[in-house]
């Protein structure tokens, strides 16, 4: 093995991205806990992590840029660094979605609690699983695992549509719950976006491993 310093740099980049991924995932988990338990303290934690996630995004981009400029990577290494830069941006956006959800929860805490006929935690678990699997595919360099994430996106999209439909019906029937129903629609929309980011990450993993660009045409069933 030659170019030891370069390969250490690649390892460091991977570690930093995985730490970033852990933070983004934790933010989503906290935002959903805040929703489920009506817990303001969890919202606060989400807001606090946002600054850390943003700082990490900048650090990772800088590290990636240094490797590109100083080491002139080729082939699989070049694709790896490009994938990291894109995954990094998606993880930062996942953190933003957590913040959006936490803001919505704070809003919800000012109105009476209503038992809505929707399962937001289930949808959160599904989109969270997509993120986790996409990242596992990244850790293992496993393009097949990444492909499975792409198929899961349709499930999350369907859940989002179902929740929107149920909430619109509720608003027609019980207009006094409009605010709560709107918040549920927006949170579901945020979770659907988390699924999209997981899809992007999975596509970047496939690009890194196989050199194939599968964006916008995987399997034909993907609605993105």
């Amino acid at each position: 093995m030659t170019r030891t310093r370069f390969h250490e740099g690649l390892d460091q980049l991977k570690d930093r991205l995985l730490r970033m991924a852990g933070m983004a995932e934790q933010s989503i988990t906290r935002a959903i806990a805040a929703y489920r338990d009506r817990d303001r303290s969890q919202c606060k934690l989400v807001f606090e992590s946002e600054a850390v996630i943003n700082a990490n995004e900048r650090d990772i981009d800088e590290l990636a840029l240094d490797l590109l400029a100083m080491q002139q990577p080729m082939a699989i290494d070049l694709r790896f660094i490009l994938a990291v830069i894109k995954i990094n941006a998606d993880l930062e956006r996942v953190g933003d979605q957590a913040v959006n959800i936490a803001e919505r929860v704070q809003q919800l805490l000012t109105v009476p609690n209503v038992d809505l006929p929707v399962d937001i935690p289930l949808m959160a678990a599904t989109s969270g699983a997509m993120i986790r699997q996409a990242l596992e595919a990244f850790v293992l360099g496993d393009a097949q695992l990444a492909e499975r994430v792409l198929t899961m996106d349709d499930i999350v999209d369907d859940m989002n549509r179902d929740i929107a439909r149920a909430m619109i019906a509720l608003m027609k029937k019980s207009p006094e719950y409009t605010e709560q129903a709107m918040d549920a629609i927006i949170i579901a929309r945020n979770l659907e976006r988390v699924g999209d980011h997981a899809t992007n990450i999975a596509e970047d993993v496939i690009f890194w491993v196989r050199g194939a660009d599968v964006r916008h045409h995987f399997g034909g069933t993907n609605s993105r």
Binding site: M1, T2, R3, F6, H7, Q72, P73, M74, A75, I76, D77, L78, R79, G211
Partner: protein
Amino acid sequence: MGVGIEVRDLRAWFGASEALHGISMEVKPNSVTAIIGPSGCGKSTFVRCLNRMHETIPGARVEGTVKIGSIDVYGNGTPAVDVRRRVGMVFQKPNPFPTMSIYDNVAAGLKLNGIRNRRDLDEIVERSLRMAALWDEVKDALRKQSGASLSGGQQQRLCIARALAVQPEVLLMDEPASALDPISTAKIEDLIYQLKERFTVVIVTHNMQQAARVAEWTGFFLLGDLIEFDKTQKIFTLPSDKRTEDYITGRFG
């Protein structure tokens, strides 16, 4: 105009030691092809077989077919001198004739080919120096200055002008910029890119970034075999062979 190069089952030996184990490759006319690979992989030997330079080494021999356009390089009755006129070569270290003026360096090959008319010579010397992007720097000192008095980068462009003067169809370059500073290197690389309009260029280089910058096609040699030959963009983003990938990403070599 450049011509295509067709290589079939090319084997080359130094004495009993086989340096190339049956290389086949097709080079398109007016293209730039980079040959990369670790030291000792046979890349210089390969290009030296294209213009019959290999056989000038005592004990060296060649088998197989090389066609430069319609010329069968190793065919019966093809004179080596004729091949070398059609296939120009530029080496790693600039090697101008030290006692000759700049003008005479470029005109030397023409004079050997029997061109004596002063006006013809003037015209070809100017055109060759212009093609080699050296004319503006030397036009006022053509006969006053010797080739050896130029800087390294200028000497290398002088050697390119000398090779171009005899109007070859193919230009072989063996590490043409490895002894030059970055600015001279950039000038040579720009030049290579322009030269492909008139010539077919094959360049041996240790500098993979240079291959990526100048060549449309790249061949990767390892231990006397051609491992992979493809579009440069493909080789440097998604090579097909693991050995190519390991080499260009610095995992061995």
